[in-house]
Symmetry: C2
DNA sequence: ACTCCATTTTGTAACCTTTACAATCTGATA
DNA sequence: TATCAGATTGTAAAGGTTACAAAATGGAGT
């Protein structure tokens, strides 16, 4: 509680119970949830929660650099509160999104082909370690 | 004309005027268009064209490995018929999507962190060369 | 603690891209 | 040329996100 309250205050975001819960959920569940998943999970404890609040808070956290959006599929945004740089793997077997800590040369380059690079997003598709271990080879 | 007819036949895709036009458009416009952009452009010459045909053809070309989908923003798929590997830059000034030919280490690795990598997608956000030249520094 | 006000939350409806579906049409083969 | 599986079309539905207005609430100042 204290931790998330501090984060919001440090970024000049007005503190509300909804924002605290959303921030806590994102920080304790690194599953790259969709807005809908966050909504349904938090609604268990707060049935009055509105989906608009989810989106508003996501926007607010994003504006303050506390949240990244992952667009794997066209209709489905996923959110990631781990803001240090890493790539992501979408497992085609289990559908999970998995963090991959990598040495990517582009995170250090600021220019590529004459263009200025501000953000680097690496998305992989494949099969995760767990799914490889169970059925595959 | 001959070129696109040949491509379709080689991939066992039934040849129709709509598919030929869509394939030609994608091959001659490397602007990473949305489905809507393809639709409105081709409708100028064929007012009877249906948007469903655009999506059906996109699906068909994708299934045969002739087309890649780019998901920069939620709700906005862009399509790329250049299937050799390259990364993309979304310019935050002009909004254009620009191809970046890069030496990416992950295109050669098949395993990362124990996970199997099948596809690599590199998305950058930044400011393109042209926009840097005009206003920026 | 109380008041006030800007901000936030809520609920509903609108928005937009994509998909589903059924009827019509058409390309390729015989 | 006849046939039929597959393609195209138009409409409607689906699904995630956004817009909006009314009600509520957090935080500063008293």
């Amino acid at each position: 509680m204290e931790k998330y309250l501090k984060i919001l205050r440090e970024h000049g975001i007005k503190v509300t119970p909804q924002r605290l819960e959303i921030l806590r959920f994102l920080d304790t569940h690194h599953t790259h949830p969709t807005a809908d998943e966050i909504y349904h999970e938090l609604r268990k404890k707060n049935p009055a929660l509105s989906k608009t609040t989810i989106y508003n808070t996501i926007q607010s956290l994003t504006d303050h650099g506390l949240l990244h959006t992952l667009n794997f599929r066209t209709h489905e945004a996923r959110f990631d509160s781990v803001i240090n740089h890493h790539h992501h793997l979408l497992c085609s077997e289990c559908g999970k999104v998995i963090d991959i800590e990598v040495e990517c040369p582009f995170t250090k380059e600021k220019i590529a082909g004459g263009h200025r690079i501000d953000e680097v997003h690496g998305y992989f598709r494949g099969v995760c370690k767990d799914c490889l271990g169970i059925g595959g080879k």
